[in-house]
């Protein structure tokens, strides 16, 4: 990671004081990054965390952000808890990660059994302190993987692997204001937090308590220039009636398949912005970014190793090898994260068509219709092409004849949603005709239901019943 040789976030921020006007904004408050040069949000001494394995468990993103900036480079290991971490898994997490200190904005009693770990509370404000930072060491970053309902899986990163995709060039660009629909305590959001800090910009944090329209208005009021989210986040933004409240230069989609419909909708909404879709995961790191406005990945990305990332397709799925992948899972019971050649299997299935690779779904998410496979995502991509469809969810329904059959739920665009029942019947027929033209018969939904909304998981992806 030659471009990011900072040993810690504080190191990377050491010039922050010389650059006024850099902020982290939350719904409630704001913190100037310069305040952290001679200040602390931690109650007590940072020295108490030196060499420890520190669990960062917070109610608010801002308190986590401030804690990360201070603790990185001091702690031996930091464990960043996602907002939806189930409290019942906490003892397992603490044991697996050998936690001996907890930094939190909760009251100690609310955190539960500390099991002898040192408790340090952290605030959403910075108070001046005279203490010098002292010597630094690289800290191991432990992140939680997304999308499992069982016990959480933790992976090991370093600041180097996390920041590997952030180029120095962005430091030179003018006043960059980043924002993201993601929570920064998950990989996708953490990337944006690091980009804002290391790249010399500011950051507008999202909030789970805030509506999409309010968030967009607030991001707009801070003149956001770069903003990221999942395709589901963006569909919600386009439905919110507040998409015009921001005028970004750069819009990025990741975390789910970006189909042509959502790319085109964003292009129409933000004609001057670069619309990019990217692949990143907690395990595989930031893989690549596609900026040509088209869905899918140019096959040329798989030749050579651009930016130190080697991509390949093996047994149908995308494999990534780079310095940005996580190193290993935490906990002995987990399988190796990297294969013998150092690749991470993303589990995302790719298909090559006309010189581009397209994601067709997850390896585990396949619907089996009488022995024939269907990836829900490829059907959703066809449904989403209809101009009245905002988003869709294709799922399996048990069937006595074929074992399972494909059904779809769709959400209509707000301006076209209120329609008479017979119009909706005609719409369903049109969608089915589109599906029949584009897909094999077993992939065409047997039934389509129009629903007011679809559940989106805390990580911003359409909730899949079997995922």
């Amino acid at each position: 990671m030659p471009q990011n040789d900072a040993i810690s976030l504080a190191d990377a921020l050491s010039d922050a004081a010389r650059r006024p006007g850099r902020f982290i904004w939350s719904v409630e408050t704001q913190v100037a990054l310069a305040e952290l040069t001679n200040g602390s949000s931690l109650e007590g001494s940072l020295e108490e965390l030196r060499g420890r394995s520190v669990l960062i468990l917070t109610r608010h993103q801002l308190t986590a952000a401030l804690a990360l900036i201070q603790i990185d480079g001091i702690a031996r290991r930091l464990i960043l808890c996602p907002p939806d971490l189930n409290a019942k898994h906490l003892p397992l997490v603490m044991a697996t990660a050998s936690v001996d200190a907890v930094v939190s904005d909760y009251a100690p009693a609310d955190v539960g059994a500390l099991d002898g770990a040192r408790f340090i509370s952290c605030a959403a404000r910075v108070t001046p302190t005279a203490a010098a930072r002292g010597a630094e060491r690289p800290t191991e970053w432990i992140l939680f993987t997304s999308g499992t309902s069982g016990p959480p899986k933790m992976v090991s990163h370093t600041l180097g692997s996390l920041a590997g995709a952030i180029s120095l060039g962005s430091r030179l660009a003018g006043a960059i204001v980043w924002s993201t629909f993601y929570d920064i305590r998950r990989y996708g959001g953490l990337q944006i937090f690091l980009r804002a800090l290391i790249g010399g910009g500011s950051l507008v944090l999202s909030s789970a308590e805030e509506s999409t329209a309010d968030f967009l208005a607030r991001a707009g009021s801070h003149a956001v220039t770069h903003i990221t989210g999942t395709p589901s986040h963006w569909r919600r933004a386009l439905m919110s009636g507040a998409a015009q409240r921001i005028a970004p230069q750069y819009v990025r989609l990741s975390g789910e398949i970006a189909d042509q419909a959502i790319l085109d909708s964003l292009r129409a909404q933000y004609p001057r912005a670069t619309i990019a879709h990217a692949f990143a995961s907690t395990e595989a790191g930031v893989g690549f970014e596609v900026e040509d406005g088209f869905a899918g990945i140019p096959a040329s990305f798989f030749e050579g190793a651009a930016h130190g990332v080697k991509l390949r397709v093996d047994d149908g799925s995308l494999r990534i090898r780079s310095a940005r992948t996580a190193r290993h899972y935490l906990g002995a019971e987990n399988a190796p994260l990297l294969d013998a050649a150092g690749f991470v299997d993303t589990g995302d299935i790719l298909e090559l068509r006309d010189g581009r690779y397209y994601f067709s779904g997850r390896r585990g998410g396949i619907i089996n219709v009488g022995g024939l496979k269907v990836h829900p995502e490829e059907v959703e991509a066809v449904i989403n092409r209809h101009p009245r469809v905002q988003m869709s969810l294709v799922k399996s329904r048990k069937n006595p004849v074929t074992g399972a059959i494909v059904v779809a739920e769709i959400v209509l665009k707000p301006e076209t949603a209120a329609a008479a029942a017979d119009e909706n019947a005609a719409l369903k027929t049109e969608i089915l005709e589109n599906c029949h033209r584009a897909l094999a018969a077993h992939k065409v939904p047997a039934a389509i239901r129009i629903v007011p909304s679809l559940e989106v998981t805390p990580s911003g992806k359409v909730a899949r019943p079997n995922a």
């Binding site: 219709v369 009488g370 069937n399 006595p400 004849v401 074929t402 059959i405 077993h442 047997a446 239901r449």
Partner: protein, 83 residues
């Protein structure tokens, strides 16, 4: 007057055959389903649609449902479940 189970089933057979470009045999109670011109995917779709329009799935209601052989069996199976 409520639409009968029978007519709902018959119209689904016709609609699915049309959608799947199948030539449907003349529908009569003694028509063997496998000779109707519909394949198993078509039947799967018919059953899924009937669950939506009638609000129940007789196949899901019984543990070891035998698949009906004739169209008459099929209709009776649904009519019994509707009682």
């Amino acid at each position: 007057m409520p639409v009968s189970v029978r007519s709902t089933i018959l119209s689904q057979f016709e609609q699915v055959a049309r959608e799947q470009n199948r030539k449907l045999a003349p529908l009569s109670d003694d028509l063997v389903l496998m000779d109707s011109g519909l394949d198993s995917l078509c039947f799967a779709i018919v059953v899924a649609r009937l669950e939506d329009s009638l609000g129940f799935d007789p196949f899901g209601a019984t543990e070891d449902a035998r698949f009906p052989v004739t169209l008459g069996d099929f209709i009776a199976f649904y009519e019994d479940a509707a009682k």
